[in-house]
Symmetry: C3
């Protein structure tokens, strides 16, 4: 029985590995991406004010990964534009989602059953993109695990990683948040994929490529479907992340007392205010302190100086003051 199962899975994984993304899976990716753009605040207004800006944004949503990985590898960022068929397909989908009479296309695609199928197909393209990025990086930097992870991640989640600049195209600028400060689920799952595929490529992970593709694809599709059906955005890695964080990244500083939410509140409210704080005189560039430096003294003394620093910088963030 096991052997049969294995044989079936093996056939399935080979079949998946040889599957072509074009045109159906790519189409699903474009539809889901453009719908995600449309649901962003202000996107509909931009589509009426400037169809060109709206189209450019949509292309960044659809091809952001290829653009970002191209920039990172010093390859022309316009290369995705040269694939005329894909760009035409994405443009037609963009037009139908934003400007279809009676909003027919968007309304149909937004119905849960169809959206579920399209999102599942989009998750399949994620595997291809991550693997493509890892392979491309492996070709240029044979032994560099970090480069492979970076390019695989960029290719699979590029659109999210460049979201600040995609929003800038639409006239929106939100510097207080980005995908590194607050990683969304798709970006996380892509990073994990990039890590496992890079480990497999460099033979640290003793799994065959097509098996790994199958496992990863099933995992992403199942998770995505679960999240859409339950309406939950709880990450399946929350417990693992929490454990890693508590073990490695809290040390014995007074910040260990700050909960995740409180610190996030400090960032959400305080970070932007820090830019106008008069106490930013010790700001220094990469190449060393300009002569002034304030060594932070251990535990209790540090609590004191950090509290003073926080009070002057985050006067409206009462939760920080209470906790520290």
């Amino acid at each position: 029985m096991d052997l049969l199962e294995v044989l079936h899975l093996d056939e399935l994984s080979h079949g998946l590995a040889n599957l072509s993304m074009f045109p159906y899976f790519d189409m699903a990716h474009y539809i889901v991406s453009v719908m995600a753009l449309r649901e962003q605040p202000g996107a509909l207004e931009v589509s009426r004010v400037s169809p060109l800006a709206c189209w450019f944004s949509s292309m960044l949503f659809c091809f952001g990964g290829a653009v970002l990985s191209g920039i990172m590898l010093a390859e022309p960022p316009v290369a995705p534009l040269s694939n005329g068929t894909s760009v035409l397909l994405a443009s037609i989908i963009w037009y139908l989602v934003f400007y279809c009479p009676m909003d027919l296309v968007y309304c149909c695609a937004a119905l849960l059953p169809l959206r579920l199928v399209l999102s599942g197909m989009k998750e399949v393209t994620r595997t291809w993109k991550v693997l493509g990025g890892v392979t491309q990086a492996h070709g240029k930097y044979k032994d560099s695990l970090l480069v492979m992870i970076a390019i695989g991640w960029a290719k699979g989640a590029g659109g999210g990683l460049i979201s600040n600049f995609e929003q800038l195209v639409r006239g929106i600028w939100k510097p207080e948040t980005n995908e590194l400060l607050k990683m969304s689920y798709p970006t996380k799952i892509t990073l994990i994929g990039a890590v496992v595929f890079a480990l497999q490529q460099t033979h640290y992970l003793p799994v065959q490529k097509h098996h790994l593709m199958l496992i990863y694809t099933i995992f992403t599709v199942v998770n995505k479907s679960r999240m859409m059906l339950t309406g939950s955005s709880a990450s399946p890695f929350a417990a693992f992340e929490s454990a890693i964080y508590k073990t490695l990244f809290t040390g014995s500083s007074p910040y260990a007392a700050l909960t995740d939410e409180v610190t996030k509140a400090c960032i959400d409210n305080g970070t932007s205010k820090m830019t106008t704080s008069p106490t930013t005189t010790k700001e220094s560039s990469e190449n060393g302190v300009s002569g002034k430096h304030t060594p932070v003294s251990p535990n209790k003394g540090r609590s004191g100086s950090l509290k003073a620093k926080e009070e002057s910088e985050n006067t409206e963030t009462t939760s920080c003051k209470k906790t520290d």
Copy 2:
């Protein structure tokens, strides 16, 4: 008679095609560009606070097209710096326009007759830059019309397209507007040039290159002169743009009721406020909705939900509320 005219025009177009931009036309381009920079709010103060930042801005105004097209084609963006003679010429002009005793150079060049001639000569360089970009892209991506248009556009209007980042050099940041959201006349005319030259290069437009160069140059020079003499900034394409917009980009959504000005006002006032809106929770990255999605229901129902969305996001934009 017709044949003679044609012969003369043919000679003229050949003459134009063989004309060298260096040094007089390039000089005119540098003078007009640096004067345009000088007339920007705050530019004079920057020239006194930091001549280096002012010089860097001027170089972006003068060579922005070459820098942007270089970035897009993964060619070194410092390449324009290697043309020592051009950079030296542009730097001398920068110095004279900003720091000449008695402000002699600026005042003379600002006199209408001279400014008219210089602007006309600058328009001639536009043809060269657009054509240069289209040809350069054609060399790398033989059949890609989109890439040729993109590179031709970037090379001809690069300075305008990167204006957000050029302003950043001077300490100014205006994310609520950019050349895609609100295209200025020079950027529009360059885009049109890029399209026609790309169509000609790929033989979709059955016109000879030097004839097209002559027609385009005459068109841009005449329009520019007209606009400067009448003081009008009315685009010659306004009617055509309006027709295209009404046909393709209004659909049957309630937004069809919004006039262009009202929607623009929404963007001008509302977009920046959207960054602080508490209702931006459904913001999602490129790779799919995080689990929440709000399908927009057809016509009337949509008016309701969109109105509610607008009211929560644009509380100060009364014009939007009244219209919707």
Copy 3:
């Protein structure tokens, strides 16, 4: 005696030229850089909220020069990531500086004697980076002095030059200032180094390379130590800069009456407000004025129009009004 001194210095300069930066000098550079990041406002909070964003920022501090010079020369910006040993070393140092139990590493390294030694060693790496950049540029653009200076400067002070974008990673955005508008000491000293090494490379400066390396290194180390010991941030070039500025960049405009501090205050307070000024209608893009232009009339008349412009733009900057 002189010959002996020269011989000793010659041996010393050869010794310095053949010194390897890895691992001790590189380590010192990483430690000082990460400590500088840690002392930035808000960096500790970011390290608790998002270790990944903190790590990425640290890598930009440590390898920012290589990244920026790579971008400028169209070489892959991920190339520094491929040097696994350096990245691992920098990452370990990042972890120890931010998360060491009892904050041991930071507190020890912050003690003045040790910090002095580490900063001195970091200054030695500056020489290598500037020279490396100049040589790399010389390989691609044999005769271009400007390109060599630009790449040498980028490689030596890249982290400071890209500080706006490094801060963006941490959720901070301060567009009103950058290293071109207000150059910090490290960026200045690196620019000077890039100029002298480029002049030496192109044989305009008749000094041998290893002698120049020794002189420059001694100069930077001594200055840095002096500034750290005296707690003074006064630039050694202040008098020279002032002379150059008064000679070349004041002309006979009414701005000559504005002191440096007043103009800086205008920038500090006024520039950000200019973005909302209603009088910014004459803003134009690179490619020429859109039809409106306001020629500035000479001296007295100009004082009047500039005063009016200032009053409307900088209503809160009373110092500007009083001076003009």
